[in-house]
Symmetry: C2
Subunit: 633 residues, 2 copies
């Protein structure tokens, strides 16, 4: 084979579906700029403006209509937390230019167990992001077209598969495909909030016409600190998705960290502005939390004086962004699982990049598991949502704790000293104490939010996640144990080459025919020491075999094993076991089994699968090799 | 290994379930006498007395109550047919002592196509016998305990599995288990008919008290010849099962033919007597065909003056015999399928006798397919019954046509001449013309019955069978073609031994470690001509492999295949294909693939299955052997 020649994948229907294969050397061309990056990684975070304010109002409603005014101060608190988390992640992006999600930060600073926990939490949450956001997008569609309601599960799974296919085409193409709807949503949302503020300042903003009924659940409670904390934690769903960019740094064009960092700042600014704007405007218009009409819809109706084209633009943009939030998970889950796999905590195959240079196995895994969730939970957002967000806050908390520890290390280094860690290099930082405070405070806040979440939503389904994450971490460590153990066993330390001194070859003979004679002549090329073995269930038949063997057996020894119980495989296994017991070190036994290769697959059912059964019976025997010698019919 | 030592099957839970294994030499002890034989082979035929009379009345009812008196003459006609068929089969049993079902008779006298058709028809019918009789037995149970109705499918499948297990224990034990209920049914039925006649002759037989309503379906029709023919063909369901003994001759003690023949005569006599008796008595008691109460129940109530212990004994005996009719099919189906398989029309594995000397694969196949039917048809007798009986009459017709032809041959032989056929020896018979007439007439009658059946029940489901039988026959012939072709290819006629002159060995190397070095040292025992091949998806990695190979490769050549599209298997397949293209005759190529053998099966998912994929890619290449060299971790 001449150098430079190599195998191109064959053209198949896959080329049409996901595009032509890309060479490994093309990888740098598959990165994206800031504008596309914002569309790819921000749709998850930005889509939360569609429901975060409403979530806060829903909780405050327990204390009656007057309590609803707390929505703005609570939103301010959430935005403060958002700023802290964003600053933390902006710092992380610069500290970890090779990708600095919670997994890497925890791994380098806190150790393997917290890292695997953070990773498991994030992977779980990405799966839920797909299930929840697609289901909620489909729910918007089925509210508009109730006739589609019975097919919601099929539509949702179909959309998961669609997003999967787009992602299998590669990050560049998926980014372009998703940029337009993301910017459409952002622009219409800004117009809504902007017009709302203009009317508010000019005194022309009215209140909601025909608002939905104000529903109170039984007795009103007082405005307790717990209620406010509960409302706060419900509203923090606005923060989900903010970590996405830190996992995806390597998808950005060089200079990666700078581009990723700027994109993060854009994203947080847009998110904070829209969220605060909405939370401010709901009070003057007297918006009411309700299951039958979203707060966004009430706001848009009031701002645009009815259900005109701008109202429709915002509502349809909202439906689309919810479906696209899934795309963020598709961008991050495969990268994160490849990181786990690279460290040996998930099957190594997850690091394999498919024909389009994306981690195709991660993409397919995400699509499969989230489709399963959608089917199990029948695409019900209400049943899926309590499982959601705990994982994100757990990973926030671990990641920021890791960063805090990193500042501690940084502060105790002398100028010019450095610690080289797998994911980054730690040097001295003048402002380490302030940064440590920010990260430590952020870690504490997100931890508290997670605990409140876990407690208030435990019965509704959060328990599933609280059980699932330790289970996943255990699985990750068993996989890791396997790879570590394998590497130790395969290591060439203290390796001494051994030559095989004796090679016994056994040929299994069901009858004397061209197939078994082909196997015999193959066996005779392997070794001088060839024995043929025939299992006899019928004395007449075996006498014939013996006679024919004398003619055709080329002088090799024939052993006939009597089988009065009509067993076929077991007598051979017994015979070979006895040989193996007598085996010297440096001796090897090979069993040659003639195997017909029929023209059609179904014809295999017409033959005994002796080789297969021997292989299954002998899988744990050292010093034994089983060979099927094919005979084409 | 010393002579006389052989492998005993290991003790497992199977011994407890189906008994200890039996040696092949035990086979003659596993035969049965006439009393047990009647129980094993007659339950199918005898159970038809439970419904045959009613089936006739149901059709006659279309012409009003007065037409019901035709039941006895029609029954007489059916019994005449029964006598003809019985005589035919009694003659067959003596002509074919090795088993003489429709399949063998048709094969020896009519040729392969009619034989396979008869066999396919019978096999189909045995499957339906199990499904119909178990379902109808369960229907009796659920009529008594309506609370069990929702579980009828589960109960029916459970009973199929129970009958299967009993049959896997062996024909002797299953016969003993089923003899008691069969004789219980026969005796209670005889008491019922006997007491009925006694009361009739003494003038004390009344009429049915509170008979079910006489239901007429729309307008009454006249008593046309077609109606009578229809009623006749419906009543011929009494004949199903009469062929059972002829297929099962080898299960009888020596002298086989005599024992089997006598059993057949007993069975036919019992069947004819009970059937005629019942058909005679229904008129004087004014029994009414009805869906809500069976004719048997009306008769028993009238004879025994109410629902006393004898009434209950008959009804429960009827339920049990219906379930046991399945046992006849379990006795015959495996034997018949073993005959087909022995002639190469079904997978040869069907001829393999299991640990208890029964054709266990046939038994399991029958249980599986009939359970599937029960599940598909939800254990509904009404939906299953139109599929039933066509097959039996088709095989009757073919079998008797074959016998007629045999008498023709016999009549044209000179005294002392003989024709040796696979299943029997034909000699001159003085009475050949009379016997030819009986068989020819029987064949015609059963053929007409089959056609009437097919036409009147076509829409209800008979079409399934009319399509299925040719499909099965086609499958049988494709299997036969495979085996014939294989035998031709494997035949040693004109065989010249060829010695392999060159043996190239390729070792696939993913990395340099103990696993790949073990494969290398194995490969070096096979041939002098060893090349190692490494697929490179990462230049850094393959440089390392190259360097390590210089240290550990024992001087063997290393070929590195560049794979810029990150393919693993395809470059190897390309490389090997090129080698094979250049291959000389008498040259063979062996690919050695190192294979980890992990401790736990799930750990296989953590590795690429390269050997498996190569094997699948190369299954059709001549001159290539693929070897996995296991490396135990």
């Amino acid at each position: 084979m001449e150098p430079g020649s190599f195998t191109k994948p064959p053209k198949t229907w896959r080329n049409w579906l996901i595009g032509n294969p890309l060479q490994t050397a093309d990888a740098p061309n598959q990165t994206i700029g800031k504008l596309i990056g914002l569309a790819v990684f921000a749709s998850d975070a930005l889509s939360s403006t569609a429901y975060a304010t409403q979530e806060i109002l829903m909780i405050l409603a327990y204390a009656g209509a007057s309590a609803l005014t707390y929505v703005f101060p609570i939103s301010l608190a959430i935005v403060t937390l958002m700023v802290i988390v964003s600053i933390s992640y902006e710092q992380t992006i610069h500290a970890y230019p090779g990708g600095g999600g919670a997994y890497i930060v925890a791994r380098d600073n806190l150790g393997e167990l917290p890292a695997q926990t953070a990773g498991a939490a994030l992977l779980t949450d990405y799966i839920l992001t797909v299930a929840v956001s697609i289901s909620s997008g489909v729910a918007q569609i089925t509210s508009a077209f109730p006739v589609l309601f019975p097919f919601r599960v099929e539509i949702a799974v179909g959309m998961v598969l669609f997003v999967m296919l787009i992602n299998l085409r590669g990050v560049k193409e998926s980014g372009t495909a998703f940029a337009i709807p993301t910017y459409f949503f952002v622009i219409t949302m800004f117009i809504t909030v902007g017009v709302g503020f203009f009317k508010y300042l000019t005194g022309t903003l009215g209140t909601v016409v025909n608002p939905p009924a104000f529903e109170t659940a039984g007795l009103l409670t007082a405005v307790t600190p717990f209620l406010l904390l509960h409302a706060f934690s419900s509203g923090t769903s606005a923060l989900t998705g903010i970590e996405a960019i830190s996992n995806g740094i390597t998808a950005f064009k060089e200079p990666r960290s700078k581009n990723a960092g700027i994109t993060l700042i854009w994203m947080s600014s847009i998110l904070a502005t829209l969220f605060l704007g909405i939370s401010f405007l709901v009070s003057p218009i007297h918006a009411v939390p309700s299951e039958s009409e979203t707060v966004i819809s009430q706001l848009a109706r009031t701002v645009f004086d009815g259900q005109g084209p701008l109202y429709l633009a915002l509502i349809s943009g909202t439906a689309v962004i919810l479906i696209m939030a899934a795309n963020t998970a598709f961008a991050d889950f495969p990268r994160l699982s490849a990181l786990h796999a690279g460290d040996g905590f998930l099957p190594r195959q997850m690091t394999f990049r498919g024909s389009r240079l994306v981690y195709s196995r991660g993409i397919i895994t995400l699509a499969a598991v989230s489709s399963m969730l959608i089917i199990i939970f029948q695409a019900s957002v209400t049943r899926l949502i309590p499982l959601y967000a705990i994982g994100v806050f757990l990973s926030f908390s671990l990641s920021q704790a890791g960063m805090a520890l990193r500042w501690w290390k940084s502060g105790h280094l002398k100028d010019g000293e450095q610690i080289v860690e797998p994911g980054s290099i730690v040097t001295h930082d003048e402002k380490w104490l302030g940064k440590l405070f920010i990260n430590g405070f952020g870690s504490l806040c997100t931890f508290v939010v997670m605990v409140v979440f876990g407690i208030t939503k435990f019965k509704d389904g959060a328990w599933i996640i609280i059980i699932l994450i330790p289970v996943l971490v255990t699985i990750f460590f068993s996989i890791h144990h396997h790879y570590k153990n394998l590497a130790k066993k395969l290591s060439l330390q203290n390796y001494h080459s051994t030559t095989i001194k004796r090679h016994r070859v056994i040929v299994l003979i069901a009858g004397v025919h061209r197939g078994s004679l082909a196997a015999l002549s193959y066996a005779r090329t392997l070794s001088e020491d060839v024995t043929s073995v025939h299992v006899s269930t019928d004395p007449v038949e075996s006498k014939k075999v013996k006679e024919k063997w004398e003619l055709y057996g080329e002088g090799t020894r024939l052993v006939i094993l009597d089988s009065p119980y009509r067993l076929l495989v077991e007598p051979v296994m017994d015979y070979i076991s006895k040989l193996l017991e007598m085996r010297q070190p440096n001796e090897i036994v090979t069993v040659v089994v003639p195997q017909f290769v029929p023209k059609h697959w179904w014809e295999n059912f017409l033959h005994n699968q002796t080789a297969l059964m021997l292989r299954m019976g002998f899988i744990f025997k050292p010093g034994l090799v089983i060979i099927e010698v094919p005979y084409q019919v």
